[in-house]
């Protein structure tokens, strides 16, 4: 079984908990959580996840800024990033995609289909083994 590693970054501990449970419904997915900031960048660099699921509105460093840091670091530049956000209007989605996001998922989400949605956004960008 190919493990699919997802790093989830969100400042809200409840959301982190829910996402963990949701993604765990897919037996192939291994989830690690981070509450954001540069520590998240380091976590991504050291753990090398297959995808990063990230909130947009976070204190200190928000989602787009964090994405920029990930892209600047050659260790994390190629990891696909999916935004999970309460601000999912068409123009905002287009903006996030223009920043280099692999996808944008809206909050609130269906916990039973979250894993499938994240994989749908990222699997085409997953590097071939």
């Amino acid at each position: 079984m190919n493990a699919y590693r997802i790093l989830h970054i969100d400042d809200d501990p409840d959301i982190r908990e829910i996402v963990k449970y949701s993604l765990a419904l897919d037996p192939e997915i291994i989830v690690k959580s981070s509450d954001g900031g540069m520590a998240a960048v380091e976590e991504a660099a050291s753990w090398s996840p297959d995808a990063i699921l990230m909130d947009v509105m976070m204190p200190v460093i928000d989602g787009p800024q964090l994405l920029s840091h990930l892209r600047d670091d050659e260790r994390t530049a190629c990891i696909p990033v999916v935004f999970l956000t309460a601000r999912a209007q068409s123009r905002e989605v287009a903006h996030f995609m223009s920043l280099g996001a692999a996808g944008v998922l809206a909050k609130p989400f269906d916990p039973l289909t979250l894993a499938k949605s994240v994989r749908a956004c990222t699997e085409i960008q997953r590097p071939l083994a």
Binding site: D12, I18, V19, Y21, R87, Q89, F109, P111, L112
Partner: protein, 659 residues
């Protein structure tokens, strides 16, 4: 302004039509003159004392009067450019100069035989020439007046024609004077021993004939006031020649004096009316000037008040952007008094980042574009930024920029706060909902372990209401966005049938729950519209879900699309009870929900149709409903077909590329 006088009033005697009053006055003058003339004829040969002073006084008065008349007529010729007036002016000039020559040659006045080498017949011949010349000039006036090829009124002197006219008259006068004096021997005698001879009677008869002819021509064509008074002049001329050369016997008899008196009157009539006309013109001109001055003063006062009381900032600047005038509102808006800004450049006050754009706008205004509308940020004296929305124009004649700026700092701040509120509320409501729905969803699915039936049922209720709460939050935020003009539309070509199919499938579960089927009408035609696909789905989903909610069990909801060429009409038809009459006018308003009559929970926020209407409107379409044949309701959404709407898309894209 003076052109207005010329154009509007036709106040010149030569062009003003003669009215009944003028005609009555002229007729009265001619009538009285005629009576006096007829009364004098029997006494014309009665000798009277020789009043030598009469000749120089009379001739001087005539010369003076005729010269002034000629001058006024020449001025009018300069304005009206009527050649007829030049001819008449030349006639008066001729008369004036001939009167001088006549006086100089009059025997016994300045010398026993008269000056200029005059002989005994010279003065009489000069009289004959003089009294032939003016009627000829009048005939010339009448003939030239009938021509309609006069150029437009102008203030540029008709120099050449004028000089030619005056030169010709001078030459004629000199020539005739030489002929009557030095060349007297070549002319037949008209006086016999100082009395009127047969020659004079013949020549004067010729003068009378010319006068009569001129009178006749004037009579047939007398339209203007000048024409009318020239007719009177010709009558007086007739009486003058008749009395002083035909009916009298010799010099210094009743006819001699009376005729010359008529001659003086003849010389004066036109002058009097011209002077009267001049007086009237001056008065009207003064009145017009005063009126215009009053109007200018009023306008200037109005502009001053608007300038001083304006709450907006009014600026007048030169082409370099240096302020020439600044309204007092500058103190309230930017913290600077007008005098602190006048003479300085706009660049001293504009935020550096906005300077280039502001200069571009000024440049475009100078290139002839219409009013420019743009926003610029300024540094307030206290160091904060003020945003002004400007309207500006460039005046080429005055070489000035005119700007009016409205302080929109507060408005923009409020808008930013509102945007932040929407974003914050959006985030702060949806985040806990995510946790709630996520938790319940996971438990309800059994992923956290099997649940007792009762708890599963309760969780089902909780989850359904979470979803309902999400819908309410989304609807409220959508309405807020739409009303703030902040809802973004990503317009692309949308396959309508594919979209309707997706909506039908997405609502299948809900339909099954209500015992209703949703189907796409097979007669629907393929069609493409230019729309934001997500928002159009939102609209059709709202209509379909409403149709499902209000449909009886076992019925169907039919979705269809009709391609009408330039537009596409989407219909959602149900077999429900229809919309009650008292809701028909309000169905698209916010928070309006048709009351449930069967206790079945309809759900919804009462915002769905309001949102749908606003979305359709923003997409450039129309939404409405009708009673369906056989019962139920048909909701219609009509949008422009993509090909018909394509030019709009091209324009939008070009604008986007340009920005």
């Amino acid at each position: 302004m003076a052109q207005r006088v010329v154009a509007e009033q036709a106040v010149f005697l030569a062009t003003a039509p003669a009215g009944p009053r003028d005609r009555r006055l002229a007729a009265g003058v001619v009538g009285v003159s005629s009576v006096i003339f007829l009364a004098l004829i029997p006494f014309a040969q009665q000798p009277l004392p020789h009043v030598w002073g009469f000749i120089p006084i009379y001739e001087s008065a005539i010369a003076f009067s005729d010269l002034i008349t000629a001058a006024i007529l020449l001025i009018q010729f300069n304005i009206l450019r009527l050649r007829a007036l030049l001819a008449l002016a030349c006639g008066y000039l001729f008369t004036a100069l001939m009167a001088i020559a006549h006086a100089l040659t009059f025997p016994g006045l300045f010398s026993p035989t008269g000056l200029l080498g005059a002989g005994p017949q010279s003065t009489a011949w000069l009289y004959v020439f003089w009294h032939a010349g003016f009627p000829i000039a009048v005939m010339g006036y009448v003939l030239l007046k009938d021509r309609t090829d006069a150029p437009e009124p102008s203030f540029h002197p008709g120099g050449r024609a004028l000089l030619l006219g005056i030169g010709s008259i001078l030459a004629a006068v000199v020539g005739l004077t030489i002929l009557a004096t030095v060349g007297e021997a070549f002319l037949p005698d008209v006086l016999s021993r100082g009395a009127n001879g047969m020659g004079l009677i013949v020549t004067v008869s010729a003068d009378l004939a010319l006068t009569f002819l001129a009178l006749l021509m004037l009579w047939r064509r007398s339209h203007s006031v000048l024409d009318l008074w020239l007719t009177v002049v010709m009558c007086a001329w007739l009486f003058d020649v008749s009395l002083s050369a035909l009916f009298n016997a010799k010099r210094f008899d009743v006819g001699f004096y009376a005729g010359r008196s008529y001659g003086f009157l003849a010389a004066s009539f036109v002058l009097f009316v011209l002077l009267r006309e001049t007086g009237i013109l001056y008065a009207q001109l003064a009145e017009l000037f005063e009126e215009e001055h009053r109007e200018h003063r009023r306008e200037a006062e109005e502009r001053r008040r608007i300038f001083e009381t304006s709450l907006d900032l009014i600026l007048v600047a030169d082409r370099r952007g240096n302020f020439l005038r600044v309204s007092p509102s500058s103190l309230a808006i930017l913290g600077y008094r007008p005098e602190e800004m006048i003479g300085r450049s706009g660049a001293d006050f504009v935020v550096a980042d906005d300077l280039a754009a502001a200069r571009d706008e000024m440049r475009l205004a100078r290139r002839g574009k219409e009013m420019r509308n743009f926003a610029t940020r300024y540094m307030h004296k206290e160091g904060r930024i003020v945003t002004l929305d400007w309207s500006g124009v460039w005046s080429e004649p005055e070489q000035r920029h005119f700007f009016i700026g409205r302080d929109v700092t507060e408005q923009r701040r409020n808008q930013r706060l509102k945007d932040e509120f929407i974003a914050t509320v959006s985030h702060e409501l949806r985040t806990p909902l995510t946790s709630i729905m996520g938790s319940i969803g996971i438990i309800e699915s059994g992923a956290a372990g099997k649940l007792p039936d009762a708890i599963a049922q309760l969780l089902k209720i909780a989850l359904a209401n979470c979803r309902r709460l999400v819908t309410i939050v989304n609807d409220i935020l959508d309405i807020e966005k739409i009303e703030a003009g902040k809802m973004a539309f990503d317009k692309k070509r949308v396959d309508v049938l594919s979209l309707l199919n997706d909506v039908a499938q997405a609502n299948e579960a809900m339909a099954t729950q209500h015992g209703v089927t949703v189907r796409l009408d097979s007669a629907s035609a393929p069609a493409t519209v230019l729309a934001d696909a997500n928002r159009l789905v939102q609209v059709i989903t709202n209509l379909v879900s409403n149709a499902i909610k209000f449909s009886p069990r076992g019925s169907e909801v039919v979705v269809s699309a009709e391609n009408k060429g330039k537009s596409v009409q989407i219909k959602v038809r149900d077999h429900g009870p229809g919309i009650p009459d008292d809701y028909k006018d309000r169905i698209f308003e916010k928070f309006v929900q048709v009351d449930a009559t069967d206790q079945r929970q309809r759900g919804g926020t009462g915002l769905g149709l309001s949102i749908a209407k606003q979305i359709v409107s923003q997409l450039g379409g129309e939404i409405g409903f009708d009673r369906a044949p056989g019962g139920g309701t048909v909701f219609r959404v009509e949008l422009k077909a993509a090909d018909a709407a394509f030019p709009e898309a091209v324009k939008t894209n070009r604008a986007a590329l340009a920005s």
